[in-house]
Symmetry: C2
Subunit: 354 residues, 2 copies
């Protein structure tokens, strides 16, 4: 199915790597799994300057490229070889709408955070011969993957920086994600996942976007009308409703419903304690990476206290809370102050000998 | 339309008072407006022991009766004459589903907070000859009405206690309420408000309930599994899903969709600055009541800082933040510690000479 949102023209250039047939933790498999990834900088001869960035819910490599990576930044491509990998089901890597046959659309299998991490490892080893990562950094579902990496392959992860996410998904997050999913699946145009265009699910995608507006930002974002300072091209926004409709809804309305549902199901079940029979302390105790845990102070569904409780269980870690009136969507980098704080923390982390 | 939820058998006894034909601020009128109210205690001869309690979204007089009013409590019926008035459209007072003819169901007119307060004044004056209230206290939309009372009829309100609510609705609250409304109206069974039974809108009511589960409680409520301590009759709950389905969804599934929408529209537009051309400081400056502003510390959509900002504009006021891991739904009085704190504050307030 064609969806122009998931093209290099919109998302920026990326490569595809064929992982081969890939067995999934929840059962079933993806034939010829394709991971879409983008790289910045050069891998050095020692192969010790690699940084991995997994993507968040509904996100692609693009935000990282535009907001976090650049010369003079902590994630400087002149020093580091940075690999941003689009998560399975995000619309660029193998996803329901770009698959055919037995895994197309509603038949797409359930994918777990662990599947992404195992596939990413294959990409890094097979494609680049990378055996050790100077840093894994990701936000939200990217933080879930970062934790999974650090617990599952501790020998490969020297440093870890989970932003605005948890190692074990919380019950509140599970319920929040359920409202997002139900907003989509309740649209008669969804047709059990067998719509013929994502535009048939516009009402559901709009309701899904509206719930994001309530939880993804913060009460203070809306109160202070922070959106007045947000520019898209030459466009500014005049009212709350204008920003809601022409920014938040407009972004989500371009996306594929089955892609969002694949990611949401995965997000709901992120849990490193699956490796230790449910013992979170034991799982996080396995982490050998120097770890900076970075919640966002105004995050309404990954609140700092949830992240701090996990940080306390990680041997060689620090809590570095990020300031953003944008709440969880602070991740998009609307504020220079936020980006400067991320850079300071990542620079500190990258300079820490391990 | 019959709905057993809105009966004395379920809600406890109440009286009806006929206000007569009632013109609405937004235009239109309600012929023979009936206010459903319940009283506790006796009005003394001086008529100076009256306390008014307006109800919150989806609520009735019942929660106040069961959780807040009783001998030895701040709201002691042996000392005070307590009048709990069900808001217009709540299912007991005149509402879409219990109206006929030109205001039935989808034709029910838009009602504002100010309409409720004017109607309540008529009830108090005409039915009881009450000219002065020792206290107005209400939670959430009841707080909106409390503020409206104190700004609109300052000479009648000696003391005011808005719990977990604001005088001027916030943009975030507006958007949150929108998601609640859209969850209902998007159900094909809603049929533009002309369903033949609320059970036809079960899917929409369930999604509405699920959004409440995410915002009405708190991340910590779910994390600590506070629901394990909640008993309904002899029933306890075994899992998050069990509590969601058999408590939160079960409660909202009994309600009338048009009633919820009438209240939600009203909630979105609560704003005392309508009396002062948009100047909130000027409006709140009119309050002469001794006022205790009582936000709930874990409230996700009436956060303490929003309430504190308004309290700072009220001449003779104090901020008394209430502790509740239940967030906004702390209002239901799940915790003795919360109820004790409310009682302590209301006792202090009622003992303050004015």
């Amino acid at each position: 199915m064609q969806n122009d949102f998931y093209t290099p023209e919109v998302q920026g250039a990326y490569e595809l790597h064929d992982i081969g047939d890939f067995d999934l933790e929840e059962g079933g498999s993806i034939p010829g799994l394709q991971l879409a990834y983008a790289t910045y900088g050069e891998l050095n001869e020692a192969k010790d300057n690699a940084i991995l960035i997994p993507t968040w819910f509904s996100g692609t490599h693009q935000t990282w490229e535009l907001a976090y990576i650049g010369p003079g930044r902590a994630l400087d491509p002149s020093r580091w070889f940075i690999v941003v990998v689009n998560q399975i089901g995000n619309g660029l890597s193998t996803s329901p709408h770009n698959s055919t046959g037995p895994i197309a659309m509603s038949k797409f299998p359930k994918v777990r955070i662990g599947d992404d991490v195992r596939a990413q490892r294959q990409l890094l080893v097979d494609r680049f011969g990378i055996e050790r990562l100077a840093l894994v950094v990701g936000g939200s579902m990217g933080a879930q993957q970062t934790y999974e990496w650090a617990v599952r392959f501790p020998e490969m992860v020297l440093r870890a920086a989970p932003l605005a996410g948890t190692a074990q998904n919380t019950p509140h997050d599970f319920l929040f994600t359920k409202t997002l999913m139900d907003a989509i699946t309740s649209d008669p145009g969804f047709q059990g996942g067998e719509y013929s265009s994502h535009t048939e699910v516009a009402d559901g995608l709009r309701r899904h976007a509206d719930i994001w507006a309530v939880l993804g930002l913060s009460t203070e974002f809306w109160k202070t009308e922070f959106w007045r300072g947000i520019e898209v091209g030459d466009t500014r926004f005049a009212t709350t409703e204008d920003f809601l409709e022409n920014f938040i809804e407009a972004v989500f309305l371009q996306m594929d419903p089955n892609a969002l549902l694949t990611m949401a199901w995965k997000w709901q079940r992120g849990d490193v304690a699956r490796h230790t029979g449910g013992d979170l302390a034991q799982a996080l105790g396995r982490i050998t990476a120097k770890t900076f845990v970075m919640p966002i102070d105004e995050d309404m569904f990954f609140p700092p206290r949830d992240c701090a409780a996990e940080q306390a269980l990680i041997p060689n870690s620090e809590l570095r809370t990020l300031p953003s009136v944008c709440g969880h969507f602070g991740l998009f980098g609307f504020e220079q102050s936020y980006l400067a704080e991320v850079d300071r923390n990542l620079s500190d982390l990258l300079e820490t000998p391990v």
